[in-house]
Symmetry: none
Subunit: 218 residues, 4 copies
DNA sequence: TATGAATGAGGTTTCATTCAT
DNA sequence: TATGAATGAAACCTCATTCAT
């Protein structure tokens, strides 16, 4: 029921030490969920990672599923906030697509949001709805980026924004297995390349001095 | 021990009836694994689907993991065989990419191969290696398609075939959630669109009479 | 969900062997619940009593609470059926009160229905409602016995049937602790005495040759 | 070890404030035990009720069972003291029975002594013996009331005092479920009615102008 | 006097798996 | 070929209790 964690947040800035520990626990949970998925992850896995016993985790959250949702919520909100900033900021469609893809891959590698959240069809409890809602918000933000580009005549007036969103997210989410162990520098390169594919395609454009899609010099 | 499954395949041509039943069981397993993932799927789920009791499944396979690997193996081999045929066949790069993406989405929707196989990081037993090997074969086939296009001067000589493969597979695998309930006809449309994105990109090509990426007429 | 036990009852008379085992398990559960109450009883207690492991109990019922409810339902229905037969049968009020009290004490000693069912305020799940409903049926049957006596002029027209029911049930249920280890013969004597107290009171009736309430000869 | 509770009661008259707090805690424990029973009650339930954390309760008692015993002891001693006063006081048997039943119901409603104490067959620790002893004292007091009435010729010389005690206590204890939410005024009425049932019985006495057992005017 | 954090034992439950029939 | 009964391990979770602060 009402977790003790809810009793916190009394003193506005002194709550940090307690919250820090809670964050440690949730970070451990995030790591384990990312590595194994919700169902294969055990409370013992998480507990071991923070040096607790499984039962002690329940001091910090009410259930395994609640921890999972908390993890996804925090990560997902960060995702949405960053993409909203990109949408609201300056730049052409290309700029925004590049920035959006880059931040997606960057944080998804570090936090594995999509792996965690999308990996679980049907949570046992009722937590799935909130996660799906967060995902829809993210999709809508991408769609608005495309629609803004249509309004700015960067894209034809009958451009299929929905479909582009689906393709872009598919591209980004489908690749985690390949880049999850890459260095941050390489992530940026992959992100740039994905943006290129998405914006320009693999085929050479006629008349352009193309530097895209070339093998990276070692 | 010597599993009862090993007692099968005695009479060389009478095995068909038994094998048919075994295929039914594996199909049920495939469906359940696709719907829930390996860990969340229970032997009871599978048994219910074929009208058996959980214990009776062990007449057909040695363990839940063995069933999972068998499912993925069969589906994965089909995937590889079809792509190999495309690679060996005639046509330009564009033709092959379109055909490859189409068959990937088609069969992935029906059989959810990538969902099943990639969804499971770390199987409990040792079955993961075989699945990863199957996946690598598939990747290599795609790479060979691109390399052939480079040799045929359809792509620049320094085209990054590896990277293109990663992007293409990411695009295809990342979208299952969106198309898994679509009709076969719509799958074909999505596949065509994905191929367009991959080959030509989202941005309008100058000087072309573009019909790509438009909103589909209702 | 749908327990395997629900799949039974196919062959109308051959189901007995399976049902007999299930009854054994439920009897064990009844004994443990009666001895310790719902909360203090553990699944291990029950399992030990039938020579099973705790997990194996779930082959026979879905949860500890479901077992508890099943036990109470069966016992309670027997209670109600027997009292309904007394109500419908012949005899004066005194006869029926004597018979009703006797059967209550008799079966409550053997099956501890009221101990089990009334002992639990607030079951964790939702099973409490059914049990309360069963109890209300029993109360109503007693009330009808009194009302029938009013109609038959055995009791004054303004006799408080409800209040009598409460008193009678209080008398019967409150005494389990004293008679739960007594022999069947002594139970009958106690029942007769309780009926006397209830019908005639402790004080001597004037003008009557009283043999009631005397110390039993050894 | 030496519990902190032992550190109390140092200054002989300053102990009042501490004791008051301890009483509050025990009252909370009593309420929770009464509402849920010993096993279903949790230390958190009790702590919540006094605005403490569960661990803080151990400043006031050594264990949950110790708290339970303390609660029952205090309540039980009050019960016994009041009944002893009635026994020692003036009045006929009827007067004493009426007074005894009234005080029993009165305080049992408020403090649920019998519910608490009798509800628990088999405490985990060794506290049960003391509680049973307290109960036996109470029973003996009632028996002495009846024996005094025999000596005073209010009851026949062979009246079964033991049996009357059992019946009376059964009547009083078995009815808590019905009267625990009634108002004090109604409790008094119920007590009077129970006393009537116990003394005179339900059947009409011949030749008496009976006002007993009538439905209460609204 | 009370808290916050943790323990550890034990509880209920799930489930892959086995095996006699 | 399949069932029914059971196992045993491990899962999630609860909770009385401890102890440094």
């Amino acid at each position: 029921m009402a977790n003790r964690a809810a009793l916190r947040a009394k003193s506005p800035h002194q709550a940090t030490k307690q919250d820090r520990r809670r964050d440690e626990v949730l970070d451990a949970a995030a790591a384990v969920f990312a590595a194994k998925g919700f169902h294969a992850a055990t409370t013992k896995d998480i507990a071991d990672r923070v040096g607790l016993l499984p039962g002690s985790l329940y001091y910090y959250f009410e259930s395994k599923e609640a921890a999972f949702v908390a993890v996804c919520r925090r990560r997902g909100q960060g995702f949405n906030a960053r993409l909203a900033a990109i949408l609201a900021g300056p730049g052409t469609l290309s700029d925004k697509v590049r920035a959006g893809i880059a931040q997606h891959l960057r944080h998804n590698r570090a936090e594995l949001v999509s792996t965690i959240a999308f990996g679980e069809r049907a949570l046992p409890g009722g937590g799935g709805a909130e996660l799906r809602a967060l995902g829809r918000v993210y999709e809508r933000l991408w769609e608005r980026i495309f629609r803004a580009a249509v309004r700015a005549r960067e894209l034809p007036h009958d451009f299929d924004c929905r479909s582009a969103t689906v393709a872009l997210l598919a591209l980004c989410n489908g690749a985690i297995h390949w880049y999850e162990r890459k260095s941050p520098r390489e992530i940026e390169r992959i992100a740039a390349r994905f943006a290129d594919y998405f914006l320009n395609g693999a085929l050479p454009r006629r008349g352009g001095l193309e530097t895209r899609h070339r093998t990276a010099p070692p």
